[in-house]
């Protein structure tokens, strides 16, 4: 999955997320401390309907145990900046173990954080490489996908930021 680079605010090592009482929707995982600020942390995995993810099990406090095979079957992680930034070599995705990260995204004054299984870095992408999103069998992912491009022989969903923030605003809290 990819998001425009401009909305990335911070990327830090995963930190324990504190659940919110009475919130049963798995979309909102809770609050997390990002450099002294307590931010709401959401689960993009649950938003796009990726269930098989062991890495999302929250260890608290800090006894992190990322298990192998956390790369979700349908998930194609990746980060791109369409036609904006200089191309950077992409990190090769490791089959075993990865580097889960907590990502903070910010648009205007609205800030959200979420965990990713791995951050592949910036990818420079030409506008013409972006293809219209095909009908995906994953409903929720389809509604979020603005377009598709190919990266390392994998199809990457380029997410619609407006849509993403709108859904988070509505559903997460």
């Amino acid at each position: 999955m990819a998001l425009p680079a401009s909305i990335f605010d911070q990327v830090i090592a995963p930190s324990p997320v504190h659940a919110i009482p009475h919130h049963t929707d798995p979309l909102l995982r809770g609050i997390v401390n990002v450099r002294g600020q307590l931010l709401p942390c959401v689960s993009i995995h649950s938003l796009v309907g990726i269930t098989a993810n062991v890495a999302m099990e929250k260890p608290f406090p800090g006894k992190s145990n990322p298990t192998s095979g956390f790369l979700a079957k349908r998930q194609t992680p990746g980060l791109s900046s369409p036609a904006k930034l200089a191309p950077k070599p992409c990190l090769q995705s490791g089959q075993q173990g990865g580097y889960p990260r907590l990502v903070v995204v910010k648009k205007e004054r609205e800030v959200w954080s979420f965990d990713v299984d791995e951050l592949y870095g910036l990818h420079f992408c030409q506008a013409e490489e972006l293809r219209r999103a095909p009908a995906l069998n994953n409903q929720s992912l389809a509604s979020l996908t603005q377009s598709i491009f190919t990266w390392h022989e994998k199809n990457v969903s380029y997410l619609d930021v407006e849509q993403l923030f709108a859904i988070l605003r509505q559903r997460a809290i």
Partner: protein, 817 residues
């Protein structure tokens, strides 16, 4: 005077002038009012205050000169002259002098409020007033030096002389008028020039201009009174003569600073464990050296081997020395750094708090002006000026406090004659008190005026058809007082004593509710009225007990905990389905914290003891079973992200020592959740037993914060075959409505924590609940309230008088049958 544009080019200089004026005006107002209350200028404190006044006027003069405002220089100079003369004892400042001086200060505050490029315009528009002001100020000096006031009151014969001749000339442009642009009518004119009378009489004349009933003998008395009251004011007033220097900082920056300071405190904690591992390394190194020693003694080596071993030993010793040295440095650094970040953190937190006096500066002046305007006598006593208050709360308190002080003067404090008749001191006292009490900020506004006649209030409630006579009779005093906070309540013409009391009280109430506090009114007829604010100390440091629930840290404020106990399974008794324990002969129901919070069960090894936190709310005690006690700790309360709104059972968040988030339990809320859960369970049991009966019963949720109303509605509906659940506020209502299956919601509007309008909006915005019919039943019967209710999505809007007739039942029947 000619002002050319070019003189006003330097924008930043004007900004500095403005700030200077703003700062000095506070000093001037404070000290001038204090001096007024200490007429005897021989008093060393008064002299000190006059000194401050002189300095302040002088500073303004200097500032005005720098920016080239000649008129400003002249006015400041005239003010300064008055203060100098007064300090030398050549002039005794009487109330009417103070009026003129205050108008001089107001002139500056107006000047200070002007945006830069219109100074010249303003000055040329106000040139007449300015000149008159300067003249009036000069006039104070021209008046003959007079006898001290207390003597004058004993020889006050001149009062019998024809006073009207000396009243201010109406044709003269009133200078005082320009202090409030919005105030259309001149409040007081300037005292006459060339007055033949002594200054204190003139002061009198002014003070009682609006008070026709005032008799000469009253005046003598009042003068004597004001002479006497001076010591009491100065003793009760711990105002600082040297104000703190204050700068403005963007609130976001400040929050960011706070977050970073907190983070640095957490980071420091990493250093000590690191130093410990270094110590460990040193120990290993020591044993290495010891091993080398052993080797040297035990082994027979070739000469070259011996040499190498010697070298190895000396290297090991070098390493040891170096390591010890470095560890010492690291230890010192770690200590210094942790102290530093601790101080940094404390300072940042302290910057969020301001002394109460910061918010009360204006009030002395306001009380004085209002009382004079109305021909009443009142003094304001501020207690707890140094009480530290969160700046956000202080800002929001200003409007409600202003309002209550106004009310106290306008409706509470009686006219001086009346007060004398009933044997009260002629000068009414308004007390404004701020203290920290039980982890809350408590602010009390009390007056010794006439209070509120509860019976009259009860009648007014009935007349306004806010409640039927039957209900009104049953309302407790406290419930009755709640009516005061209804919007527009006091406009009832029938109860003159309380007319006007309630205007704006609803605004005060909603402000308090916004910050999660309480506002209560108490009244003792003929003895006065008291408003009591109980406000949270958000963003301040609190002591908490940190516990683990469902594997995550939570904190209970220490002030809210009755007791903490470790219990064994043998201590637990079971009554029907509820487990309980007995502590000091009191039965205490046990609840598991994770069940209340709807969190998963923690995975942990079964232990023989269970930690229980006993909390108390009103009459009931509950034992909350947590997974584990972590420890007592001082934490900095951090507000939760605004997007969360109010999270049920949680008041705020904080960071643990490790830098992980922890949530602070809102105990009052938590207890309500327990009660609700308990009643929900008992209902479940009931409905299981009589499932056949309840099947056709319609399920209604009643949300109201008044017990009386809640019970009324419950009984009424139950008698008509509905199954009824209750919730005590909007937040609880919202939480309940989402968990249960209801056919109808009946809600009040004015409720703490979430009002009825918000509740309706939430329901109507929820995809599953959108179809759920809602009836609003409120005391608010204005058209605008109805429109607001219906716009929010309510299906019916009824007033509380609907209990008497059948309109509520009709509406219910209409909606759900």
């Amino acid at each position: 005077m000619i002002y050319s544009r070019s003189e006003f080019k330097n924008v930043s200089m004007f900004e500095i002038f403005r700030m200077e004026v703003e700062k000095q005006i506070i000093v001037l107002n404070d000290n001038l009012l204090a001096v007024e209350n200490q007429i005897a200028t021989e008093n060393p404190e008064a002299l000190q205050r006059l000194e401050s006044l002189m300095r302040a006027a002088h500073s303004i003069k200097g500032a005005a000169r720098i920016v080239g405002l000649d008129d400003g220089v002249r006015v400041a100079h005239a003010l300064e002259d008055c203060f100098v003369a007064s300090k030398k004892g050549q002039l005794n400042l009487a109330s009417h002098h103070i009026d003129v001086l205050l108008s001089g200060i107001d002139w500056f505050s107006q000047l200070g409020n002007i945006t830069d490029d219109t100074h010249a315009q303003w000055l040329s528009e106000h040139v007449t007033q300015t000149n008159q002001l300067i003249e009036a100020l000069g006039q104070i000096l021209v008046e003959p030096a007079i006898q001290p006031v207390i003597q004058a009151t004993t020889t006050a014969q001149p009062i019998s002389s024809p006073e009207p001749a000396s009243t201010p000339n109406p044709s003269k442009q009133p200078v005082r008028n320009n202090d409030e642009a919005s105030d259309a009518k001149p409040k007081e004119n300037l005292p006459p020039r060339n007055s033949k009378h002594t200054s204190n009489e003139n002061g009198h004349q002014n003070a009682h201009q609006n008070d026709r009933a005032d008799s000469p003998s009253d005046r003598i008395h009042s003068r004597a009174e004001s002479g006497e009251r001076s010591p009491s004011i100065s003793s009760g007033d711990d105002s600082e003569l040297t104000p703190e220097r204050v700068v403005r900082v963007n609130a976001d920056n400040l929050n960011q600073l706070m977050a970073l300071a907190g983070e640095s405190l957490v980071e420091v904690n990493w250093l000590q464990p690191f130093a410990d591992t270094m110590q460990h390394l040193r120990k290993r190194q020591q044993s290495l050296t010891a091993l080398l020693d052993q080797l040297q003694q035990a082994a027979t080596l070739s000469p070259s081997g011996k040499k190498t071993l010697e070298e190895a030993k000396s290297v090991a010793l070098d390493c040891h020395a170096l390591l010890s040295d470095r560890i010492g440095d690291l230890d010192q650094f770690s200590r210094r750094f942790s102290q530093l970040s601790d101080n940094l953190y404390r300072e940042v937190i302290a910057s969020h708090m301001r002394p109460f006096s910061d918010g009360t500066q204006r009030f002395q002046r306001m009380v004085r002006d209002l009382a004079r305007e109305q021909g009443k006598k009142a003094k304001l006593q501020v207690v707890g000026q140094n009480t530290r208050i969160d700046r956000d709360i202080l800002d929001r308190l200003e409007a409600p406090l202003t309002h209550m002080l106004r009310n106290a003067i306008a409706h509470g404090i009686e006219f001086p004659e009346r007060r004398q008749q009933i044997g009260k001191p002629e000068i009414g006292t308004i007390r404004l008190e701020a203290t920290h009490r039980a982890g809350m900020l408590s602010i009390t506004v009390s007056d010794d005026g006439c209070g509120i006649d509860l019976e009259a209030l009860r009648q007014s409630v009935i007349e306004k058809q806010l409640a039927s006579p039957a209900i009104a009779e049953r309302l407790s005093d406290a419930e009755l007082m709640e009516f005061l906070f209804l919007p527009g309540f006091s406009t009832a013409q029938s109860v003159t004593e309380i007319a006007g009391r309630g205007v704006g009280l609803d605004i005060a109430k909603s402000m308090v509710q916004d910050v999660g506090g309480l506002l209560r009114a108490f009244s003792a007829p003929e003895e006065g009225m008291t408003f009591h604010f109980q406000l949270p100390l958000t963003l301040s440091v609190i002591r908490v007990l940190v516990v683990e629930i469902s594997g995550e840290p939570y904190a209970f404020g220490l002030t809210r905990i009755e007791q903490v106990k470790l219990i064994t399974p043998e201590d637990i008794f079971i009554s029907e389905t509820h487990p309980y324990i007995v502590v000091d002969d009191e039965t205490i129901s046990l609840v598991e914290a994770h069940r209340v919070l709807e969190l998963p069960v923690a995975e942990r090894e079964p232990t023989s003891t269970l930690p229980v936190i006993i909390v108390k709310d009103h009459a009931h005690s509950y034992g909350i079973v947590v997974d584990q006690l972590v420890g007592e700790k001082e934490i900095v309360v951090r507000p939760l992200d605004e997007r969360f709104g109010k999270i049920q059972d949680v008041s705020a968040a904080a960071l643990t020592d490790e830098g992980y988030p922890l949530l602070i339990i809102d105990v009052a809320d938590f207890v309500r959740s327990i009660e609700q859960m308990a009643s929900g369970e008992s209902l479940d049991i009931l409905s299981d037993r009589s499932s056949n009966d309840t099947k056709e019963q319609k399920h209604v949720l009643v949300v109201d914060d008044s017990l009386t109303v809640r019970e009324m509605e419950r009984q009424l509906l139950q008698n008509h075959g509905y199954q009824v659940d209750v919730a005590v506020n909007g937040m609880e209502g919202w939480n309940t409505v989402r968990t249960g299956s209801y056919d109808l919601v009946i809600s009040d509007i004015d409720m703490p924590r979430m009002n009825g309008i918000e509740l309706v909006e939430q329901i109507k915005a929820h995809p599953q609940l959108r179809q759920l019919p809602v009836i609003i039943v409120s005391y608010k019967d204005r058209q605008s309230d109805k429109v607001a209710g219906l716009n929010a999505g309510a299906d019916y809007y009824l007033t509380k008088s609907s209990f008497q007739d059948n309109s509520l039942l009709d509406a219910v029947a209409d909606l759900i049958g």
